[in-house]
């Protein structure tokens, strides 16, 4: 029987790892993710999880140990955030290139400087070119579910890509919410054992992993990572369907909310989606045709679903907790790429907000709405807008 309880997203992530039964966990503590490996080490020490828990001296070593363990052929898990993920950066490319289905739980946190421990998505967004798949959780239940889903997708023979699951620092990592812990037997059925087809060590059948590729082969190796990302789109849908059948909770790459006759659709990720859905209800009561959409899957980028969504909206307002300087938010770039060659497309307006843990309130969303309505009315508008800026101290 599933257990209904209350816990923080960090605990939910640790529980997901326990249910997935990785054989190796290597982790280094960092705010706000420390509780994930702490809880897992407890599971291991109590004999509730049969795994090797490797205490390492840095995040670079944590992910390197995961690469080694995964290349040896076992299910592998770690957790980190912010500077920790940034320190893993070079090894993230290696994990994806070697096609090792490692799963990382990330408590999405801002990057220094100035040093700040609170939530935005700059850490994972900055890793979007590494080849890793990226999922974002709206709440603690999603954090747990998406980690299980991440293992299943990552280990699929057509995918074989490492996957990171992001959940917002403090807003989720340290907030207690109701969570249903699924039945171990069902999880076992859902995930099965990890039986690698290519990447494993067997003295009887020696292979070389992490090879050198000359110019004659490098591009093809990179192309296979592109292809695997493309394959992941279909696999993710299949795994979402299987998950729903087994556990009763429905996931989709883009979750739409009251978009059917919407003129303005607010698009976001993570916990902000909850606020935005609430805001849409509030606008609907006032007779404003607004809708919301949440990207659960950010990599592979769900371009097809974005086009479908775009067909329903006149203005898409992108609410993002990340910034590419001199360009705008990552979603703005990605949505532009998905829509640029479409005959009919909505106007895109980009909003940078909630950086470094600043709360996003209805007042901020009102500011975004006002600019979006200008765009809707055909008036001049700024493409990239910093919302909630304290102009008085600038």
């Amino acid at each position: 029987m599933p257990i209904r309880t209350v816990m923080k997203a960090n605990e939910a992530a640790a529980w997901a790892a326990k249910l997935a039964k990785p054989k190796v966990i290597a982790a280094f503590p960092i705010t706000p993710s420390t509780l994930v490996p702490e809880k897992i080490s407890e599971f291991v020490a109590n004999g509730e999880l049969e795994a090797e828990f490797i205490k390492v001296e840095s995040e670079h070593s944590a992910i390197s140990a995961c690469v080694g363990a995964s290349a040896a052929g076992v299910r592998t898990f770690t957790a980190t955030a912010s500077q920790g993920l940034a320190l893993m950066h070079e090894v993230l490319f290696i994990a994806a290139g070697m096609r090792l289905p490692i799963v990382i739980a990330v408590g999405n946190r801002s990057l220094s400087a100035p040093i700040n421990i609170w939530n935005d998505w700059q850490d994972t967004i900055s890793e979007r070119d590494t080849g890793w798949l990226q999922f974002y959780a709206e709440n603690n239940q999603e954090a747990l579910d998406l980690i299980l889903i991440a293992f299943k997708v990552a280990e699929n023979e057509k995918v074989l890509l490492p996957t990171m699951v992001g959940f917002d620092a403090f807003i989720l990592t340290h907030t207690v919410e109701p969570v249903e812990i699924p039945d171990q037997e069902l999880v076992d059925e859902f995930l099965g054992e990890y039986n690698p087809k290519y990447a494993y060590l067997d003295p009887e059948k020696p292979i070389t992993q992490g090879t050198l590729a000359f110019p004659a082969h490098y591009m093809e190796a990179r192309y296979t990572v592109w292809e695997a990302n493309e394959n992941a789109k279909k696999v993710i849908d299949e795994v979402f369907a299987e998950f729903e059948k087994k556990f009763g909770r429905k996931y989709s790459k883009i979750e739409e909310y009251r978009t059917d006759d919407a003129e303005i659709v607010f698009v976001t990720m993570g916990s902000l989606a909850g606020t935005v859905k609430e805001y849409v209800d509030y606008l609907r009561e006032k007779g404003i045709k607004a809708g919301a959409a949440k990207l659960t899957v950010y990599r592979p980028f769900p371009a097809e679903e974005v086009r479908e969504l775009a067909g329903k909206a006149k203005v898409i307002a992108l609410l993002e907790k990340n910034i590419t300087f001199s360009i705008g938010g990552a979603l703005f770039q990605d949505f532009s790429r998905a829509l640029i060659n479409q005959k009919e497309k909505p106007i895109l307006v980009d909003f940078i907000l909630g950086l470094g843990g600043r709360d996003v309130t209805f007042k901020d969303l009102d500011e975004a709405l006002e600019i979006s309505r200008k765009a809707l009315a055909g008036e001049e508008f700024e493409e990239v807008n910093w919302i909630g800026l304290r102009k008085e101290i600038l």
Partner: protein, 105 residues
């Protein structure tokens, strides 16, 4: 002239080797690096003087490739398919039986 001890290996690899890309660019055939004839990297090549050689094996032991093997009379044989021309053999040779000469192709 003696045969390279790697001859069988090289033949095996050449028979099994495929360029087909695997996920993770895994090299599935052990020892398959023999298909890379690293001799093309060479600028200087070791020139061997059999008359001076005292058969001490130092060149054979020190060659990092290894691109030196021994013939039936235990004299060194240089495998120019793989010798990168590093010059360690010439440097170690106590009787100057090996000298590095600029290679012209």
């Amino acid at each position: 002239m003696a045969e390279s001890p790697f001859k069988a290996d090289i033949e095996r690899v050449q028979k099994e080797y495929s360029e087909k890309m695997t996920p993770g660019a895994i090299a599935r055939i052990p020892g398959s690096s023999v298909i890379n004839k690293t001799g093309s990297w060479r600028v200087f090549m070791p020139e061997f003087n059999r008359d001076k050689c005292v058969r001490c094996y130092l060149c054979y032991i020190y060659c990092p490739e290894p691109a030196i093997y021994l013939d039936e009379e235990n004299y060194p044989v240089f495998d120019y398919d793989y010798c990168k021309g590093c010059g360690i053999c010439a440097n170690e040779c106590p009787v100057d039986a090996i000298v590095m000469v600029r290679e012209t192709k």
